[in-house]
């Protein structure tokens, strides 16, 4: 099957070729994407080494799984087991006819990877109806957070005896406009990622973690979140937020989906929805739904069943912008480091480097630790039962206006100047360009 896909892909020209190049890390067909870039040998070699590493650990050596030389088989086995066990959706890239743009676009949309289709250089080569479909998906699954200033609080405010200033340690941070997922990433969404063989694609992982990716396995030793079994999430937990994933796994998923993790400031901006005032700091909400704690609005200790619930629950706790469950259910990884900023009277010593997590979880006990402003952290490799994530996407990183409307397009380009690749290079949190990553890999 892989050979067929490759042959077909090599015969492609124009828009499909560009699309393949962009979805390279996605599926079995990705080899041909790399082949189009003229670098197949290097990538194949990298994957082979990655697979050998996994074999060496003895973590996933079943035939047809990680040990199988055909990448497509990984997805196929996973999805067939999935059907047999729980009727969950298939995520088998080898079932897709990649010679047809429509099929490929639909496949990408079914995997919630519309962000890739909306990259300017991809969208420019797609048919209008496909871009419209992708835009519709974007609108359905992501909420718009306007640009503006947001106040970030220190991890712990200064004590009264330390400072008279009640705002000691607060920072005013400017945030560019972005899209934020309306819901945390679910088990079903993450299954697509796992089934695509993403755990064996070095290009989407941070280089420093490549050696440890083989240890990101579930209870049975298969690649995937910690609390899954045999590469699958438990039955009837499709819509539960995925947990048991490290920060690196969250980052890899975001890259695979063409998105990124939100920064700390972006997350707080989306949740607290600051309102600017002349000559005064913006006023921010304490909770997404308002100023006062109401435990019926979120899945917290004492208000829920004591475990994660579907991301569709607690709709009344939705933020102004339309993002649900920002508070409660599961903590959410952000791209920002934890502990880098504290009030000047106290320094934080971390046992390991940590990343910031926000929002509280189903077992968050105190009200003040379930506020928009509260920040906690955990180690980058921690795979906890109550930490999940949601993704973000810079408005400047995608085409949000159809190409046949020059006036609107011009307006967008004026408000969001972008580089030729559509990536905001000024932001340190911008998702890495897969092609740039590839070039680096070749160079190394």
């Amino acid at each position: 099957m892989a050979a067929d896909v490759q042959t077909g892909a090599l015969a492609l020209t124009g828009s499909i070729g560009v699309l393949f190049a962009w979805i390279a890390p996605a599926a079995e067909g990705s080899w041909c994407g790399y082949a189009l870039a003229g670098t197949s040998a290097a990538v194949v070699a990298g994957r082979w080494a990655f697979r050998c590493l996994r074999r060496g650990t003895g973590m996933a050596t079943e035939s047809g799984d990680a040990g199988n030389s055909d990448h497509g088989a990984t997805g196929k086995v996973a999805s067939s087991n999935c059907h047999a066990s729980s009727g969950r959706p298939a995520a088998n890239p080898t079932d897709v006819d990649f010679s047809d743009e429509g099929s490929l676009v639909n496949h990408m949309l079914s995997q919630h990877r519309y962000a890739i289709l909306l990259r300017p250089q991809v969208a420019a080569n797609l048919r209008r109806e496909h871009v419209e479909l992708a835009l519709s998906e974007l609108d359905q699954h992501m909420s718009l957070v306007p640009s503006g200033d947001v106040i970030l609080h220190p991890w712990r405010p200064a004590k009264p005896e330390e400072s008279d200033d009640p705002h000691e340690g607060e920072r005013l941070v400017s945030v560019e406009a972005l899209f934020l997922d309306r819901y945390p990433i679910t088990n079903r969404q993450y299954f697509d990622f796992v089934a695509s063989g993403a755990y064996e694609q070095p290009a989407i992982w941070d280089p420093e973690i490549l050696n440890a990716v083989v240890e990101f396995v579930d209870k049975t030793g298969h690649p995937g979140p910690r609390y899954w079994e045999n590469g699958h999430y438990p039955i009837d937990e499709d819509d539960l937020p995925v947990v048991g994933v490290s920060w690196y796994e969250a980052m890899a998923y975001a890259r695979w989906a063409g998105k990124r993790l939100p920064s700390d400031a972006e997350w707080v901006k989306a949740a607290s929805w600051p309102v600017s005032q002349p000559d005064a700091p913006p006023t921010q909400r304490r909770f997404p739904w308002g100023e006062s704690m109401d435990r019926s609005m979120a899945n917290l200790w004492g208000s829920g069943p004591g475990c994660p619930v579907s991301v569709r629950e607690y709709p009344q706790g939705t933020s102004v912008g339309g993002a649900s469950q920002l508070i409660g259910n599961v903590w959410e990884w952000t791209s920002s480091p934890f502990g880098a900023w504290n009030c000047r009277f106290r320094a934080l010593e971390l046992p390991l480097p940590m990343k910031s997590i926000r929002g509280g979880a189903f077992d968050t006990y105190f009200d003040n630790q379930a506020q928009n402003s509260f920040q906690s952290g955990d180690a980058l490799c921690a795979r906890k039962y109550n930490i999940g994530f949601r993704c973000a996407l810079g408005v400047c990183d995608v085409t949000t206006i159809l190409a046949d409307n020059p006036a609107a397009e011009e307006a967008q380009s004026e408000c969001c100047p972008v580089n030729p690749w559509g990536v905001d290079i000024s932001s340190s949190d911008a998702a890495p360009d897969p092609l740039a990553e590839l070039e680096k890999e070749i160079a190394s």
């Binding site: 712990r156 320094a347 006990y365």
Partner: protein
Amino acid sequence: MSRPGLLAMDSFQLAKYATPVPCYICDGVNATSAELCRHCQAPMALAHQVQQSVTPQMVAVLGTTGSGKTVYIGMLTDMLSRYSSELQLLARGAFSISLQQATAGALSQCEFPLKTPNEPDRWNWVHSRVLVPQKNQKIELIMPDVAGEALMEEIEHPHSYPVIRAFLSKCAAVLILIDIEGLDEGCDDQDYFGMKMITYLNEMNSDAKSGWGSRPISIVFTKSDQCDACFEDPVAFARQRTPGLFKQCHERLRRCRFFASSVAGACAFEVSREGRFRVPLRIEPRGVTEPFVWLIHQLTGTK
């Protein structure tokens, strides 16, 4: 000059002040007006409250310094008095709420509560009523927050803290907290502490029917957020990481169970002018109520 008048003869009321009141913990005789027992420093309020209600049972929470006794008792009382449906806890007297208040106040600000002083008169004796809604039962409970250093001193040198010995001799059940933080680094101190504790209790009362061999004991591995294997199977963890304690429990205790608990989701250190302190980064209690609920069910025979 002087005027005749009637003066009520209330001197009989003085008699009650002359009646000695036994301390509920050590049975030592005290004056009615005494606030603390002059023998063991336990609060005499316990004795006065006992006179008004059914005889309370005593449960001890034991552990080394820093093993989390104060946090455990504080969180337990807070959780059971606010949210739990399986057991409900009603404090008796304001001083019983003080520990709960101090612990919750500190943890909500991402700090651990202050270390419990060694002086028995400064310990917090939580006196509460526990309701078991399913069985419509209620029991009175006394559960003090004993200082770890004082406890270790008494174990190493019996009778150095009479209040601890007197209290433990009357206890109906015990929770022994084992701090797993050091176990991961190959330090066996907690294993040895657990062995000493079991030995101490057994030597105190080894009677086959009423001794510690037949009283319920919960072994609680604290700070288990650092080791998920402990949560998944506390018995296996005990067998592998605290083999001495496991053996003692297996051989000498008939009603013993292992549990894992944690209160903080993650921890770090904070450095300020006052020094370097361990701080919780967030509070998400796990496995806090289970050991206590099991003990209560053992005491009441409800399960």
